[in-house]
Amino acid sequence: MPRTIDRDMQRFKQIVRGKVRRNLRKYITHGEMIGRTGREMVSIPVPNIDTPRFKHGQRGSGGVGQGDGEEGQPIGRGQQEGDGQGQAGDQPGSHIREVEITLDELAEMLGDELELPNIEPKGKNAISSKKDRYTTIRPTGPDSLRHFKRTYKRALRRQISLNDYNPERPVIIPTRDDERYRSWKSVNEPEANAAIIYMMDVSGSMTDDQKEIVRIEAFWINAWLNKQYDGLERRYIVHDAVAHEVDEDTFYRTRESGGTRISSAFQAARKIITRDFPPDDWNIYCFQFSDGDNWGEDNDSCLDILKEHILPVCNLYCYGQVESPYGSGDFIRELRRFEDEWENLILSEIGSKDAIYDSIKEFLGTGR
């Protein structure tokens, strides 16, 4: 007999996927499950559907908390759910505990949630490396690798079978024959290396909100690719009218002003690829984020570099166009024109924070 809860869950999933009751879609909320990796809190996208009610908004709201801090000290950002009202659910007596999780597990959850396919590294399975894994046991070896438990068990077994064992005085003395040591096996593992090149437009029209979107998206992309590849190298490029290669920290913080010439970033990316990542050995991923407001005459040279030098060597070229308060540009339209020719070219428009998960799915959903 099917359980009623399965039917309810099926129904819920159908609504979330937009198959039925489309008018409920606007109440779908994302990312409310909070996990921690190290000191960072991350939220995991778990969809739910809210019911509209007469309820308090943020304006004038508040609550009571516990802990240290001066008056005026911020304790949390607005706009998140559970508006700090000290509300209690009407779940009778349930304890909830928070547990730490690793980045790998996080990536897995993301994969489950967004139904991301595992990546097939491009045809370089030929490159393999030998790795030693300590998975077996031998009767000889150095003392530092002695398997105490196994040695002890063998000794115990021998003594019991020889009737040497006295439960009153349980002394176990291993002999040379009892000793067991950990040992390794050499395994061939295909090696897959990946490089990610992030490019971000930091021209005057990109505000902090857009950068936050880029940051969150890059975090998840890192998490996912990290899980898929053994060695992951990352390079960061920021550009306005000229491009610079920068470190991760600077990438997220820089704020420049001035115009936008996307071709400058492409030049820089091309240079990095030829210098550091020979395409034969590397799986190369490029992620570019911009508001798309490119300097008109620059578009042609952009497309040239992209088609000649970048697209042919990349596993994936993803362009995410974020919407800035100044509107969004038309670079994405330029790219759309030859979207069909290159199947490793992925385009995504990221309207707001809520669109991040959809866009990740678009980027990584190809399994390339």
Binding site: I15, N48, P74, G86
Partner: protein
């Protein structure tokens, strides 16, 4: 149903349960018979999603909850240890995967919850046979699904759930004028038999020749106009409902033009809302009480040396505090401990209140030993609001580093607002009142004499979430079928939000 097939507890757990039951009863805890069942996490998630009941009406919200719980568990983010429902006999579910230490903790915790359910006054009017009732609700809704289609019924349930919080927490505890059979007092019979009767025009009986003296025409005329005026005034001031009505669901049940099946579903949602409502009303007390007793019983009876570390770890995990959210377990247990200590030492009453010598207060101990008796009394009569109002003290706030926080429009952050006792208490009471929900009443069911529904939001400093309010009006309109309005405050201006079935309107209320 898979879950309702009763499985006996393992002998080991059964022994612990018997022992703890005896210990709990020995402390004076007074509970319904409690039936424990072991379930795995999937069953637990299902029960939790269903609010503790094995059978509920079909709805996606249970599926959503289940999905979230299962994910939280499989990702190792959260775990439900136990679940207990307010019925007679009381049913409690233990997680099979729990360590033995946890099972002991949970069993003790559960007995205290049961005691609370049974004795707290705010639970007095809950249906203790809710298990049957819920199953009954499910059957009825399923029947409507068969008859009218899944989408149709589900949509109407969504509509009802959107209004679910518009109930009156005091409703179950009130006896109303309409409940009492109206009896006219004796001697006020309509036609007095004691001689003089006055007819409808106010004429006294008289002989013809005396008539103009006994009933002078000008006086009669005057009386007639007076009466008419009075009638008109009455007519004008008569409102519907006569008094503001908080139980919006009941109002809709009685007066909205609903189909029979819709009315039945609305009644089901309302029933269940009232059933769960005291649990929201006493969250701090209920969890505090249960934690107080599990801690007492574990530390003085049930713990073995081997249990100690696990117990300490899990107990402190449950009691953890965070700046943004007040932990009801922690606040509750600490308040109960504080009350017990104060009444043991006699730190109450006018003498104590008048004392302002810090040293004397520190060493104040009258050795009254009234603490235990007091906390049992507190658990019987209070709910969270009165509990905090009566027993939160300035010393307690300082000791537990409590603060109030507020939303800052300018920075988009919640910021620590104050560490002053009065403000903290005020803020806490505000957020507990009506379970943190806005207080909304129907003031007019015949607004503008056109049968429109007019609601009033009792503004207490926090504004409504506007987009949600609009969508809720749409749902309200779906029930009422005539235009609906709510008077509230938007950006510090008194405002009326309206929806007439086609478009929304928002206008400033003119004084």
């Amino acid at each position: 149903m898979v879950v309702s097939t009763h499985r006996p507890l393992p002998q080991e757990i059964r022994d612990i349960q018997r022992e703890l039951e005896e210990t709990c009863a020995g402390y004076g805890l007074d509970f319904f018979e409690t039936i424990f069942e072991m379930v795995d996490y999937e069953e637990m998630s299902m029960l939790a999603a269903y609010g503790g009941f094995p059978t509920r009406y079909p709805h996606w919200k249970f599926g959503a909850q289940f999905d979230e719980l299962m994910k939280g568990y499989s990702y190792g983010l959260q775990k439900i240890y136990e679940m207990v429902i307010n019925t007679d006999p009381c049913y409690a579910y233990l997680l099979r995967a729990n360590e033995l230490t946890d099972q002991k903790l949970v069993i003790a915790h559960v007995y205290a919850h049961c005691d609370f359910f049974k004795n707290n006054a705010w639970f007095a009017h809950t249906n203790r046979r809710m298990l049957d009732e819920m199953a009954n609700h499910a059957t009825r809704v399923n029947r409507y699904v068969d008859r009218f289609g899944y989408d149709e019924v589900e949509q109407f349930i969504d509509t009802c759930l959107s209004l679910e919080n518009l109930i009156d927490p005091y409703w179950p505890h009130m006896s109303r004028a309409s409940d009492v059979k109206q009896k006219s007092p004796p001697g006020f019979a309509a036609n007095g038999s004691d001689g003089e009767t006055v007819d409808s025009q106010g004429r006294f009986p008289s002989k013809d020749y005396m008539d103009s003296f006994i009933n002078p025409p000008d006086v009669l005329e005057q009386e007639e106009t007076d009466r008419r005026q009075q009638r008109e005034e009455q007519e004008e001031s008569r409102s519907f409902p006569a008094e503001p009505w908080r139980d919006v669901l009941l109002f809709l049940l009685e007066y909205a033009p609903l189909k029979d099946w819709q009315r039945d579903i609305l009644a089901i949602i309302r029933d269940e809302a009232y059933y769960f409502q005291p649990q929201g009303q006493t969250k701090i007390m209920n969890e505090g009480w249960a934690s107080f007793w599990h801690s007492k019983i574990m530390t003085s009876h049930a713990l073995t040396d081997a249990d100690l570390i696990t117990y300490a770890d899990h107990h402190s995990g449950t009691m953890a505090t965070s700046p943004q959210r007040l932990n009801p377990y922690k606040l509750g247990i600490e308040l109960f401990k504080d009350i017990e200590e104060r009444w043991n030492k006699g730190q109450f009453g006018p003498e104590w209140d008048a004392c302002d010598d810090i040293h004397q207060m520190d060493t104040w101990d009258r050795q009254l030993g009234l603490g235990r008796e007091k906390i049992f009394e507190v658990r019987r009569i209070h709910n969270d609001v009165t509990f905090i109002d009566t027993f939160l003290t300035a010393e307690f706030c300082a000791k537990h580093k409590m603060f109030s926080f507020a939303f800052n429009d300018a920075t988009d952050y919640y910021e620590i607002a104050s560490r002053e006792f009065e403000k903290i208490k005020q803020q806490l009471l505000n957020s507990l009142t009506n379970h943190g929900q806005p207080c909304i009443r129907i003031v007019n069911g015949n607004y503008q004499n056109r049968g429109e529904l007019y609601l009033l939001h009792d503004y207490n400093g926090v504004e409504l979430k506007l987009d949600y309010a609009r969508d809720t009006l749409v749902n309200l309109h779906r029930c009422w079928s005539r235009p609906v309005h709510i008077e509230t405050v938007v950006e510090d201006e008194p405002t009326i939000l309206s929806y007439d079935g086609e478009s929304h309107e928002m206008k400033t209320k003119d004084e």
